[in-house]
């Protein structure tokens, strides 16, 4: 049984020994490098550009500007092609732009022999602008006479509303109490270790090969074709090992440009390797949200009504645009399915870095507001925070009224109980009663989450798997599911081993992806892969298993019904005896002159289900008032992600997610000057991504349910762990200090302002009330 075991990752040795090859490790002797010339203003239009001096610099091969690129605007979001107009992403981007929409916008590009020459050349480019007032804050962007950031298009990229359940207005009227709150989340960044990097070359007269650190090789191929107007089959995207993406590589960022450059330079290899500074401002970020929440609650603790109004800032270009607010908003109906709910969201352009997909895609913002509001409601009626959640959260058998689907597996209530027991909720609450005044205060907090296992029914969910028996009795597996460090190749190997009854070691997953040969799959996002690929893998493996047994029957003259595979060997079940090993069978299938063939199986599968997942975080904190610092004493996240295929890897996802959540909760924020659009902290010194010393030991646990729509009972886990830590921490701060501090991050600066406003810190840094 390979499923459920903490087998080593298939790529563990390659990675820990440094042998794994990433995009930057692929080298072409004559490769050129390209560097963007980025705008130094946030909003305006280029009136003149002079690249002559740069072109004349020794070692410069070419300089291209907005004048040289194709005129067709394209969308960059890594979504499957939408067949209906209403689902298409905004096509608002050009390879290089004359209209500047954020500080760092790409106006020109220099191709040179090396990075140093390229950087020198950038300094020689002269540009003048017509400058416009940058639009940064929602009130300015929405003002009636505000300039259109994209001429001809509203500054509102998308807007939608939904309601579910009883009549919401009536429900509010009947509610014993109505609790309101306004919340704000910050612009944060993925900070994957490997920055964006791609190179392209032509290995034929008309074929472009792109090697890229991407989460979406097949989508990248399609979009490059659209941008350059070349048939998809003439583009090949290779994805080597990837050093993380968290959604930031679910977007085509460099691929169209490197393809364009190699075309222009006669097929010579050209690489773009973004610096960390460029990666922070020039790729994607998480959408900052402004959210108002209203909760109607009865004295007995039932949440009867909820209204949420959200503004999401997508920045200079739409990228994933309104999909993020829509996806985030839709999670309410699986978390609190029985409350009458209405939701309204708008996504706005702004002269800020572009927001796109980032781990959990809108849910960290929406659920942060939702779980803070839920805490406020519990406190309003004086009910215990855990009891209040237990009364209201989803249970198995509830109907998700937005999708109309029954929730087939839900262990959230058990997650809450496990978390409560672990943190010692009852005793700690008592113990901490004496820490509600003075300079050192203590509190407990919790928050729940719900997420999905893919994008259906918004997007197609398709996955492919191909398995071939090798001559030595092992199998090679090819999947379109994209390994980006999250461990998907390992769980695929486990699934195949499980269904074939092979030893895990005998299942080899082809690591690098190549769109010329890899089965079609849309890529790594939406925590979809293990869930969606499970059914493709199961079908292919089941098919291959049958073919193997059929061949064994032919070889042995034993009725196939009496044959089985056990631990990679053919067994006669009636005699409980091994008949032959897999190598013997394989050799026969390949080389017997009359019978057999290469035994392979392939499946492509579309999921038309989408299993909701659940979880919660409990946190125990100390707040130091004069130092304006929060210390997390203990934290646990408990998840229902169905059957856990690999406990250690799953734990890794939770730890990584909690780490990221703690960063967003306590310190991370891209700081943008509201007047000029200048970005202050485009580096990892000033952007306060936590270090290991800033994060406490994180605990995790699972409530294993069985999800019937997945082949192995598993559901999503990649993104969800990032969602619940920030609201849990905010709720713990409320417990400790009595203050509702409703904007992230809860950095020392935020705490200082709040403590001062509420008199916890006086002018002289004296007493703490």
């Amino acid at each position: 049984m390979a499923v459920g075991k903490s087998v080593n990752r298939v790529d563990a040795m390659a990675k820990v020994t440094g042998r794994a090859k990433y995009t930057e490790d692929f080298y072409h002797p004559d490769m050129l490098v390209a560097k963007y010339f980025r705008s130094s203003i946030a909003h305006g239009r280029v009136t003149a550009i002079n690249t002559k001096k740069a072109e004349n610099l020794d070692g410069v091969h070419a300089v291209f500007t907005y004048k040289d690129v194709p005129e067709n605007k394209f969308p960059t979001a890594g979504h499957p092609l939408a067949l209906t107009e209403d689902h298409k992403d905004a096509a608002d981007r050009l390879l290089l732009t004359r209209d500047v929409r954020f500080m760092g916008d790409e106006i020109a590009i220099v191709v040179a022999q090396n990075e140093l020459v390229a950087n020198e050349a950038l300094k020689l480019i002269e540009v003048s602008y017509d400058e416009y007032q940058p639009l940064i804050l929602p009130e300015d962007i929405l003002e009636e006479n505000a300039r259109q950031i994209h001429e001809g298009s509203s500054n509102i990229v998308g807007e939608h509303t939904y309601t579910f359940g009883n009549d919401v207005d009536q429900a509010f009227e009947k509610a014993d109490h109505v609790v309101e709150g306004s919340f704000r989340t910050a612009m944060v960044q993925h900070c994957h270790i490997e920055n964006h990097i791609s190179h392209a070359y032509m290995d034929d007269l008309d074929k472009i090969v792109i090697v890229s650190s991407t989460q979406i090789p097949h989508i990248a191929r399609r979009i490059v074709g659209e941008v350059l107007n070349i048939p998809l089959s003439r583009i090949r995207v290779i994805k080597p090992f990837v050093g993380g993406g968290f959604g930031n590589k679910q977007d085509v960022i460099l691929e169209p440009m490197v393809a364009f450059l190699t075309l222009k330079l006669n097929g010579r290899a050209v690489q773009i390797n973004l610096s960390r500074e460029e990666c922070i401002i020039g790729t994607r970020t998480r959408h900052p949200f402004y959210i108002d929440v209203k909760t109607g609650v009865m004295n007995d603790g039932t949440i009867v009504a909820r209204h949420m109004d959200a503004i999401s800032i997508t920045g200079a270009y739409a990228s994933h645009g309104h999909s993020v607010a829509a996806a985030g908003g839709s999670k309410q109906s699986s978390l609190y399915p029985r409350a009458a709910t209405s939701f309204h969201a708008r996504t706005l352009y702004a002269n800020t870095p572009v927001a796109g997909a980032m781990r959990a895609y809108g849910s960290p913002q929406i659920i942060y507001a939702l779980e803070c509001a839920t805490e406020d409601a519990a406190r309003k009626i004086g009910m215990d925070s855990v009891e209040f959640r237990l009364k209201n959260v989803a249970r198995q058998g509830d109907i998700n009224l937005l999708s109309g689907k029954e929730i087939l597996s839900c262990g959230l209530a058990d997650c809450l109980i496990k978390g409560r027991d672990f943190i010692g909720w009852g005793e700690k609450k008592k113990e901490y009663e004496k820490f509600k005044t003075g300079p050192v205060r203590k509190g407990l907090g919790l928050a729940c989450l719900s997420y999905a296992s893919g994008t259906y029914p918004v997007c197609v969910e398709i996955a492919g798997a191909r398995i071939a028996l090798n001559q030595d009795g092992t199998v090679h597996v090819m999947v379109g599911a994209t390994e980006i460090g999250q461990g998907s190749d390992t769980v695929v190997a486990q699934m195949v081993a499980q269904t074939l009854s092979f030893p895990y070691e005998n299942v080899l997953v082809v690591q690098a992806q190549d769109t010329d040969v890899t089965p079609f799959d849309t890529g790594a996002y939406a925590s979809r892969q293990a869930y969606v690929v499970s059914n493709a893998v199961f079908r292919a493996a089941t098919d291959l298993r049958e073919k193997i047994l059929d061949h064994a029957a032919v070889m042995t003259d034993i009725d196939v019904a009496g044959l089985d595979i056990v631990d990679g060997n053919i067994v006669d079940t009636r005699k409980s005896a091994q008949v032959m090993d897999m190598k013997t069978l394989a050799i026969d299938s390949f080389y017997h002159k009359e019978r057999g063939c290469q035994l392979t199986a392939e499946a492509s599968f579309k999921a038309t289900t989408n299993a909701p997942v659940f979880g919660c975080t409990f946190v125990d904190i100390t707040v130091n008032i004069p130092l304006c610092k929060i210390k997390i004493n203990r934290m646990i996240s408990v998840h229902d992600s169905g059957v856990i295929i690999n406990p250690v890897q799953s734990g890794g996802q939770i730890h990584g997610g909690a780490f990221m959540g703690i960063g967003a909760a306590l310190s991370e924020e891209l700081l943008i000057d509201p007047k000029t659009g200048y970005i202050y902290n485009n580096n990892l010194l000033d952007y306060k991504f936590p270090t290991f010393t800033d994060v406490p030991p994180i605990h995790h646990d699972f409530v294993e349910t069985f999800e019937p729509t997945s082949a192995y009972g598993n559901k999503a886990l990649g993104e969800p762990p990032v969602i619940s830590p920030p609201p849990a921490i905010r709720n713990a701060v409320l417990d400790a200090t009595g203050l509702c501090i409703n904007s992230l991050p809860l950095s020392p600066h935020t705490l200082f302002t709040a403590f001062k406003d509420h008199g916890l810190i006086d002018e002289k840094g004296g007493d703490n009330v």
């Binding site: 004069p626 310190s667 800033d694 020392p748 600066h749 200082f752 840094g765």
Partner: protein, 292 residues
């Protein structure tokens, strides 16, 4: 990729001085943890390098006959942390060294580079101010000793002429013997961060009173600074919570923190007040004193 035009490895301090003399554009590189950052930013003034990294001559910690503690400028922070002499006599410097960057940085960053870089946030600087450290500088015309407070001329500017090498940092007996100190760094992260405020206290007690008291801050002004008026007020006073409170208020009259996007003046002042208390209390603890 770094734009390095020339790189000359010096085999001795003497050679370093002459290599510098040969090339008016050359700059010293020790651990390189400041220099390489500047090179990466494309700053041309560091494209000619004279490398003193690993020079044995500059790598030592010793106690002289007169009980002066001498630290070679090429000593890296990990060595400071591991030094018996420093742990025994100046634990405050261990506090500071431990707070620098992360393990990789502490293994290569030198205390000399930290001082010569001239920034107000340098973690070893405010402790050295509180210790009245003296720096030894060697140039083509010989050697000179400069009190640390005079060495800092302004932001990023120290009293080094082209061709000078900082060789050692000296802390004389009266500044560490029977003195107890503490360095408290406040930053937004526990590692890999520059100080929002750094506070160093060095004190001596006698019969329940502060016999000597010194307090220095980093990032409370353009260069590391002491608070002489607060110190004068504190000296000779009986130990009490009231005194700690008074000191923490007095220092706010002398510091001049700025509002920047990294932190507001008001916030920094709040932290200055709090660190003055914390560092003083910790130093008193090290002195074996209990506040009545």
């Amino acid at each position: 990729m770094f734009d390095i035009s020339s790189h000359k490895k010096a085999g001795s301090v003497k050679e370093a001085i002459s290599l510098l003399k040969e090339n008016p554009d050359a700059k010293l590189i020790a651990g390189g943890t400041d220099v390489l950052i500047k090179l990466r930013e494309g700053k041309k003034q560091f494209s000619h390098l004279v490398d003193i990294h690993g020079l044995k001559e500059l790598n030592f910690i010793k106690k002289d006959g007169d009980n002066t503690i001498v630290i070679g400028s090429g000593t890296v922070f990990s060595q400071v942390i591991e030094s018996d002499i420093i742990n025994t006599h100046i634990p405050m410097l261990v506090d500071a060294a431990q707070s620098v960057g992360g393990p990789q940085i502490r293994n290569i960053a030198t205390i000399g580079g930290n001082i010569c870089n001239g920034v107000t946030s340098a973690d070893s600087a405010s402790p050295l101010f509180a210790l009245n450290a003296v720096v030894s500088v060697k140039g083509s015309k010989g050697s000179r000793d400069i009190p640390i407070a005079d060495f800092y001329l302004g932001p990023g500017k120290v009293d080094l002429k082209h061709g000078d090498v900082l060789t050692a940092i000296k802390i004389s007996s009266e500044n560490h013997d029977h003195a107890f100190g503490c360095y408290y760094k406040y930053a937004m992260r526990n590692a890999m961060d520059i100080a929002t405020i750094g506070c160093a206290v060095n004190l001596k007690t006698k019969n329940g009173r502060l016999q000597d008291y010194r307090i220095a801050f980093g990032v409370a002004g353009p260069v590391p600074m002491r608070c002489p008026r607060a110190e004068n007020m504190a000296r000779g006073q009986a130990l009490s919570s009231r005194l700690i409170e008074d000191i923490s208020q007095a220092v706010t009259k002398e510091v001049t923190p700025r509002t920047s996007w990294r932190a507001s003046r008001e916030f920094r002042l709040n932290i200055i007040t709090e660190l003055a208390k914390r560092a003083t209390i910790k130093a008193l603890k090290r002195a074996g004193e209990e506040l009545p």
